[in-house]
Amino acid sequence: MKTWQEITSLKNVKIWVLIIIGLFLLGIPLFASQFLNYLMLTFFAYAITVIGFNLLFGYTGLLSFGHALFMTVGAYTAAFLTGKFSVLYMEAILVVAVIISSILAALIGAICVRYIKIYFAMLTLAFGMLFYTFLLKFYYLTGGDEGMRVLRPYLLGFNLSEIPKMQYLTRSYYIYTFVILVILTFVMWKIVSSPFGLCLKAIRDNPEKAEYLGVSVKRYRWYAFIISGAYAAIGGALLAPAIGQVDPGLTYWTHSGTLVFMTLLGGFENFFGPLIGGIVYIFLQDKVMSLTTYWRFIFGAILAFLVIVAPGGIAGVVSSLVKKEKRDE
């Protein structure tokens, strides 16, 4: 039997806090408005994307400015499969999205991981914009700037087409997406706590030293690129049925910038930072957009403020406050 001290140890407290937050998020549909549920659903899709993005950015030290490409691959996979091939099983969509994005990430990553810093950022941005142009110009295939419709997918084999759309999205689809987020967050936690995760952090901190200790720097960066690409594709595939229509704007460089913003806002040095950034960004954007059309100006100011005053993001500020509190005790 566990002692009270064991139950209230720091590690256990953290787990309990996570469980409570998880239950709260799961229970939101019971008391919140449909609109709030819808915003949360969008957050879940972005959360999966940024948690994968941060494996590349926060843990490997590679800043991609074209990561929305993989999110778009996931979203268009959902559109193609549901619209053109009548494949409505969400699980099949997710598997295909992971396969296609992994292959694409392996090809693009093989080129990009040879470079670092601004060169890596510019290359990824260039690939993102290439894909944008492809989606825009091959309109017979992709619908051009009008994009493609995404039909309502089956969840776990259940055809839920009888349920009203918002009820479907804010109940069944909400829970489905949330469960996937929880699973993928747990998987990512395992990855960053594994020997592979340690090697990625070593590469981020000092690639030259890592190489002298036998770490295959480029190969590991490539693996991280593929994993983060697959995460983004899952995020995109889950976002697509929620928005109902996909268009090339998803892969425009400003959308990649949004992923960077979310991660910086929450704090890339903390595992949960990107998730915090994602939820704050989505709700803040909704609020600010309802107040002014110049919302990009406000967000620009927030970004400048963050970089100058709190480069560790929200999680960094909270963490330093907790440390200060402990020191004062």
Binding site: K190, P195, C199, E208, A210, E211, L213, V217
Partner: protein, 267 residues
Amino acid sequence: MNEEKKMAILSASDLRKYYGEFCALDGVSFKINEGEFVSIIGPNGAGKTTLINVLTGLLTPNTGKVFYKDREITGIGPEKLSKLGVARSFQLVNIFPNFTVLEFLMVAIVSRLGKGTNFYSSLLRNQEVTGEALEVAKLFGLEEKKNVLAKNLPQGDKKLLDVASAFALQPEVILLDEPTSGVSTSEKNKIMEILVSASKEIGIKSIIQVEHDMDIVFSFSDRIIAMHQGKILADATPQEIEKNEEVVCTVLGQKECFKIFSTLLKR
């Protein structure tokens, strides 16, 4: 033992390295045998660090070849070299600042055991990796600081940790670029003694070091390679180097020259 019969573990033949017009290595050839502790000495700009960088594959020479045992390793690159059994430490402290001592050592062990592509198992629950990291930390007297971040260690310990991580690879040959630079005089001997005992414990066959401190060079080396302007001026035992007035004065400068001859006079 007859010198000719000893097995060469690392050798270089006619290495030349140019930085533009400047010739940093000018026809350098030598052999390092199993069981030797070799020091490379010379004034600043003699080409010592360039030589280490060429030997460890970080730089590719313009001409010449490097061999590890019978295998050519010229320009092979640090990662492959470490897997073959050659490791190095750096002149300037080269660490992962945000890693604890234990995590730092675990990078080398994970890499040596080929567990780097283990995506899913918990690192901290891996007894083999954590146990070995702790063993290496003990060897270098760092076990009490195992949870301290590398950036918060004193300078001497940072240097030790850098070297310890190279030792954790369990190489056959280790190249140490000024292992005691930036460390207080009182700590230098301690560090060298730790290095020698740890190398015996781990089974390192040969140590090659670049060093400026002549007390350390003459106390620990089996052989000394003296360099000047990219060339080898002398390759001999410490006793022979000590007797070579011209080489000593050319390579070590007036201060060391005076110091060594004062010591000889006292004897």
